[in-house]
């Protein structure tokens, strides 16, 4: 029966146990109430009685290696959690965890939606700026057009030059000036 009993052992901070998994150097091994009840029934059958707080020497179980390694191995196999956790605690923790995940998800979603809105605003701005740019390009092109310049010149009082008044002066043996000659700059 002892082989199949779940033995939940809480070990104090010094961590030293004997080969039965019981603390040495005066530490007390505490079992669960179930374990205690099981022990009581066993002891009762064995004709022994035991009071809480006393050290118990358990007889070795045939076929099961004894020692602290065994205890540790059993703990890893039968008790995967590092700590005890009851169903209520587990439920509350689960709810909290799910709630946290939901909050994180909603937060990210909110950020995505916010970014989406910002992107829409930026696109709107971009479209507006592109439109303004096109208008400016068009305005510049209009004001660069020869007809506009001539019209503007006329309103400023300028008149077209008379081609007949242009005189061509022919200078014989004139050679082109190579490059820029700074000495003849005005």
């Amino acid at each position: 029966m002892a082989r199949f009993a779940i033995r939940l052992v809480r070990v104090h901070s010094t961590g030293k146990t004997d080969r039965n998994g019981e603390r040495v150097s005066g530490t007390r091994v505490q079992g669960t109430q179930k374990m205690d009840r099981f022990r009581d029934r066993k002891d009762k059958h064995a004709g022994e009685t035991r009071s809480a707080g006393s050290q118990v020497h358990h007889p070795p179980v045939p076929g099961v290696p004894a020692g602290p390694i065994l205890a540790a191995k059993r703990r890893r196999q039968l008790h995967p959690f590092f700590y005890r956790i009851g169903p209520v605690t587990l439920s509350v923790s689960s709810v909290l965890l799910i709630g946290l995940m939901a909050i994180l998800y909603l937060s990210q979603l909110g950020q995505a939606v916010n970014s989406n809105q910002q992107i829409q605003d930026l696109r709107q701005q971009q479209a507006t700026l592109q439109r303004e740019n096109q208008d400016l390009v068009n305005t510049i092109a209009q004001e660069e057009s020869p007809a506009y310049i001539v019209g503007h010149a006329r309103t400023m009082g300028l008149i077209p030059a008379d081609p007949k008044t242009i005189q061509i002066l022919v200078v014989k043996h004139l050679r082109a000036i190579p490059g820029d000659d700074q000495s003849i700059q005005p």
Partner: protein, 586 residues
């Protein structure tokens, strides 16, 4: 187990089974609606997608057109159309509908004074879901409406093609139709290169929010937009303005029906300017639908330089002389006896000079100076003959398209291969009658002479920039028409023609020119209804530009020498100044 325990266990089991059954039923319904009905039957998936998935068409911006200096000739702007929603207005204003409507109409009318109150009232009483009340409003009006945020009124942006220079180079550019369903280029460069300029629209499919804005987080599918290509033309808008203005002034002053000018780079064949009067404003192309050009034979949208074939008259005499010079059959000093008229032994009709003027013994050079029909007919009939004349007409490009960017008229003349050809055609074609040619064809014939006998292919598009990939047009040799020596001799003859002949009014101070006038009459029409023209190149010693001017039915001066020559000279002089071409006259 006691009886009560057993009964309790049975009740437990029953409740469990009932709950389990309910869950199974719910799962089954869920499966039915979520899986089976979503793809067939009600097709719920499709309905849901239509509800919150939108497919937007992304319009491709149309490519811009530039002149050779990078100045914009055609661009795009976005303007809003204004729509109202009459039905929605009625729903939103169940009480006080009339007073609210009046207030809205008054506000709209204040912002859009061009839209009358009656029109607005009509729009709101139409019972339609949407009604467009204004098209292409000003940016300022758009801003006002956006600020006011009027209920049941919305703005729909639309892209418009705009030509900042107005009617400048309109017949070269063409225009873009601005319909609700179709925006495509028509005539000119816009029509010829429409598919390149238009680009390719894209699409964007994405989940949308309540306002129809696409969601970043949702799945999306985008087909990218391919922007329209940008074109750079060979024309210079300042030169185009000079040419167009001078032509318009001459047509007005001489009371001509119409006119055309072509300016071509003598070495490359690039078109520097091309103008026609009458013309149109592509920003308001619809206004000109009823107007005609080309002596009322074509719509004003057609480029007359490419479409208006005419009888070139005496400007064609250089082809006759070129053919004879190239084959070594004459020299500039070869003489003939010109008695004012010439008869032919084979019965070909007599050909006479203008006003039957006899010039006596004249050289070939003097034939051009005097613009003597007798001399030209003599060379064509007695020296060349059909077998040595017509090949030169073909080599000079007459009777076929020049190959410029865009559709054009090929012109026409009868050859011995035509059933109705006679020897009279030969003698008359020698001085530019009985032959139809476009202004560009005549200009390119002179270009071949100016370029040492080599004809270049004319072109209007200098480069195409398609998404950063630039393709530049390289000048292309069409063919050698005459040898270089013949071209040089002919240039000398044309110089003398300009100095001592009828083209004297075309002289440009400081420059030598090589030019020939032309005055053509049309059979069946009064002799004072002429087509006065002048073609030539400048400077003669180092040709830069070939210029052809043509005035149709000028009234105040009807000859090439008096009507076309002054216009040619004015344009040539401004060209030389604009391009700072050194004078070459001594």
């Amino acid at each position: 187990m006691s009886v009560e325990m057993r009964r309790a266990r049975h009740r437990q089991m029953l409740i469990f089974l009932l709950v389990f059954l309910g869950i199974v039923i719910l799962l089954g319904r869920l499966f039915y609606w979520q899986v089976l009905e979503s793809q067939s039957g009600y097709n719920l998936a499709k309905l849901a997608n239509e509800e919150h998935t939108q497919n937007q068409i992304l319009n491709a911006p149309r490519g811009l057109i530039y002149d050779i200096n990078g100045r914009i000739l055609a661009t795009n702007v976005v303007r809003d159309d204004v729509y109202v929603e009459p039905i929605q207005f009625s729903i939103d204003h169940p009480d006080n509908t009339q007073s609210d409507l009046t207030a809205l109409i008054n506000t709209l009318h204040q912002v859009l004074p061009s839209v009358s109150i009656e029109k607005l009232q009509q729009a709101f009483s139409s019972g339609l879901p949407t009604v467009r009340i204004a098209v292409r409003i000003d940016p300022q009006q758009s801003r006002q409406l956006r600020t006011l945020q009027l209920p049941d009124v919305f703005l729909q942006p639309r892209t418009w093609r705009t030509y900042p220079d107005g009617d400048l180079a309109a017949q070269i550019l063409g225009y873009v139709t601005q319909n609700d369903s179709d925006n495509s280029g028509v005539y000119g460069i816009e029509g010829q290169y429409n598919s390149l300029l238009a680009g390719k629209p894209g699409s964007f499919t994405a989940e949308t929010d309540l306002q129809g804005n696409p969601l970043v987080v949702g799945a999306d599918d985008e087909q990218p937009v391919v922007n329209g290509a940008n074109l750079t033309l060979t024309i210079d808008n300042s030169v185009e303005y000079i040419v167009q203005t001078a032509l318009a002034n001459a047509v007005k002053q001489l009371q001509a029906a119409s006119g055309t000018v072509v300016v071509v780079n003598a070495r490359t064949g690039a078109v520097a300017a091309m103008a026609g009067v009458s013309t149109f404003d592509p920003n308001n192309y619809g206004k000109y639908a009823a107007q005609k050009g080309c002596l009322n034979s074509e719509q004003v949208y057609f480029n007359p330089a490419l479409y208006c074939a005419y009888e070139p008259g005496s400007t064609m005499k250089i082809v006759t002389m070129a053919a004879a010079l190239d084959q070594g059959l004459v020299t500039p000093d070869t003489t003939l006896d010109d008695q004012g008229c010439i008869s032919f032994s084979d019965g070909t009709p007599t050909v006479c000079n203008w006003q039957f003027i006899p010039y006596g013994t004249e050289t070939m050079t003097q034939v051009l100076e005097h613009s003597a029909n007798v001399g030209a007919a003599y060379v064509a009939h007695n020296i060349l003959g059909p077998s040595r004349y017509y090949p030169y007409l073909a080599r000079f490009g007459f009777g076929r398209a020049t190959g410029i960017d865009g559709p054009e008229d090929a012109g026409y003349y009868r050859t011995p291969g035509n059933a109705d050809w006679t020897e009279s055609d030969l003698t008359r074609q020698a001085f530019g009658q009985s032959i139809l040619a476009t202004p560009l064809q005549v200009a390119m014939a002179y270009e071949a002479v100016a370029n040492g006998g080599v004809m270049m292919r004319p072109y209007l598009v200098a480069s195409i920039n398609n998404g950063g990939h630039v393709v530049t047009t390289k000048p292309q040799v069409e063919r050698r028409v005459i040898n270089a020596h013949a071209a040089q001799l002919l240039t000398g003859m044309l110089e003398d023609s300009a100095l001592y002949g009828f083209a004297q009014l075309a002289q440009v101070p400081g420059y030598t020119i090589a030019a020939k006038t032309g005055t053509a009459t049309t059979q069946g029409i009064s002799a004072d209804q002429t087509e006065a023209s002048l073609a030539g190149f400048i400077p003669a010693t180092n040709p830069q530009f070939v210029i052809l001017v043509k005035l149709d039915r000028p009234q105040k001066a009807i000859y090439g020498s008096t009507a076309a020559a002054p216009l040619w000279g004015a344009i040539a002089q401004q060209l030389m100044e604009y391009y700072s071409v050194p004078p070459d006259a001594h």
